[in-house]
Amino acid sequence: MLSARVRKKLPHFTLDVDITCPAGAILVLTGPSGSGKTTLLRLLAGLDQPDEGRIRLGGAVWCDTSARVRQKPRQRGIGLVFQEYSLFPHMTLAQNVAYATNDHAHAAALLDLFGIAHLAGAKPGAMSGGERQRGALCQALARRPKALLLDEPFSALDAATRAALRGELLRVRDRFAMPIIHVTHDLAEAALLGDTVLSINAGAVDPHWFDVQAAQRLDEETVLRGRLARSAPPPGLFPTPEGVPA
C-alpha cells in the first residue's frame, strides 16, 4: 500500500492531499491543468519535497517531514514514466532497459512481453511514440520497482496506440501487483484504467470534478451526435478508430 499525506505551497494555491493506493491497483489522478497532479507525482517520486507530510510504501517511510526523513528518488525503488523524455536518446532501447538493471534476462523478457524485442538495437528517435512508451514501461519495470508512477504517459499518442497501451497497462497491473499511480487529463482513460479515480482541483481533492466534466462531455457528444444525424454525412467519413471504446 502506497500512502501519502502531503502539503506543499505552490505559487497559486497549496497542494494538500491524502491518498492511498493498494498493491495491484491503479489510482488515477485527474483534474484540470495546473491543479497539482504532476507535483503530487513528483513528491511521491522524491523529485520535489513537501513542506509537510509523510509518504510511505508498506513499512518503508520515503518521506516524513516531522522526523526529517527524506529518501532520495534513487532510494525509493520506483518506476517513473513521463509523457516525453522517458528514454535516453543517445542509448539504444536495449541499453536503455539495461541501464535500469543488471539482470539481462529480465530486461530481455520485458522487451518480449511488450512485443518490442525486435527494436532492441534501435534508438528512441527511430521509434514511434507507442514503441517509445512501451520501451519506457520496460525501462521503468526493469529494476523491479515497488511502485509505478505514470505522468500522462499516453497523452501524446494517437487514439489506437493509446487504446492498446491502456490494455498493456492493465496487464502490468495484474502481473506485477504493485501500486500504480497514473496521471491523466483523459476522462475516458481515467474511467477505463482507474480502480480509484481521484480528481484534484487547485491542490485539493474535488469529489465532484470528474462527474461534472463527464456530464459536460456527454452533453457535448449528444449535441454532436444529433448534428451528425441531421446532416447525414456520407458513410465512412467519420470512421471509428479501431480499439477505441465508443
Partner: protein, 219 residues
C-alpha cells in the same frame, strides 16, 4: 625551418597539449554548474567566467599578474608550498590559454544542460543511479556535441591569445614566445615573411577547427 619558428610552434603545441585537457576537465563541470545551478554564488561565478570575453585581454592579464605574481595572493603560496612560479613561465602561458578559452568552452555546455536534460537527469536518478554515474552516462553523452563545439572554440581562442600571454608569459624569446606572440615579434622587427608563415599556420589550424565545429553541428 627557422629554429625560432620551430621553437614557437613546439611551445604552442606543448601549451595546447596541457591547456586543452584542462579546458575539458574544468569547463565541463563549470558549464554544468552554471547551466543548472541557482543562487547568487552561481551568478557571480557566471560573471567571473565571462570576464575574459568582456574585458580587454591586457586588463585580464594585468589582473592575473597581480594575483599570480611572486607577491600575489595566489602566486606567493604557489611559490612557497609547491615551488611553482606562474609568471614568465610555461605555467603562465597555460594559465593564459585556459583563461582565454574557458568562456567559450563553458557557454555551449551551459546552454545544453538546460531544458530536456533535466528530465533525463531525474529519470536517471529515479532509476537508482548516483550523480556521478548520471553525469558520465547521461549528461556527458547528451552534451557531447556541445562539449566538442566548446573545445573547438576554446582551442581556437586559446591558440590566438596574445594579451594575457604577453603579460603572464612575458614574450621571452626562446622561452615563452608562442606562435601568436612570435607573429607580433616578427612584425615588430619587420620580418614580414616569418609573420606571414606563422599567421598562415594559425589560419590553417583555425579553419580546421571551424570545419570540425561545423561537423559537430555546433553553431
Amino acid at each position: 625551418m627557422d629554429p625560432a619558428v620551430g621553437f614557437s610552434v613546439g611551445l604552442t603545441l606543448r601549451v595546447m597539449a596541457v591547456a586543452v585537457p584542462l579546458l575539458f576537465v574544468f569547463g565541463v563541470p563549470l558549464g554544468y554548474l552554471l547551466g543548472r545551478g541557482r543562487g547568487r554564488l552561481v551568478g557571480l561565478l557566471d560573471v567571473l567566467v565571462s570576464l575574459p570575453l568582456i574585458l580587454p585581454p591586457m586588463a585580464v592579464g594585468f589582473g592575473l599578474l597581480l594575483l599570480f605574481g611572486r607577491q600575489g595572493p595566489l602566486g606567493a603560496p604557489l611559490l612557497r608550498h609547491l615551488d611553482v612560479e606562474v609568471i614568465f613561465s610555461f605555467a603562465g602561458l597555460v594559465l593564459a590559454a585556459v583563461t582565454a578559452g574557458i568562456p567559450l568552452m563553458v557557454r555551449p555546455i551551459q546552454a545544453a544542460v538546460r531544458g530536456d536534460l533535466s528530465r533525463l537527469i531525474e529519470l536517471s536518478s529515479v532509476l537508482g543511479k548516483p550523480w556521478f554515474v548520471t553525469f558520465l552516462r547521461v549528461v556527458l553523452p547528451h552534451c557531447r556535441r556541445s562539449v566538442a563545439a566548446g573545445l573547438f572554440l576554446a582551442t581556437g581562442r586559446a591558440l590566438g591569445e596574445v594579451g594575457v600571454s604577453l603579460l603572464l608569459g612575458g614574450d621571452i624569446i626562446g622561452r615563452t614566445n608562442t606562435v601568436s606572440l612570435e607573429i607580433y615579434n616578427a612584425v615588430f622587427t619587420g620580418d614580414f615573411p616569418r609573420a606571414g608563415v606563422l599567421a598562415c599556420l594559425l589560419a590553417l589550424v583555425s579553419i580546421g577547427l571551424t570545419v570540425a565545429l561545423k561537423r559537430t553541428g555546433g553553431e
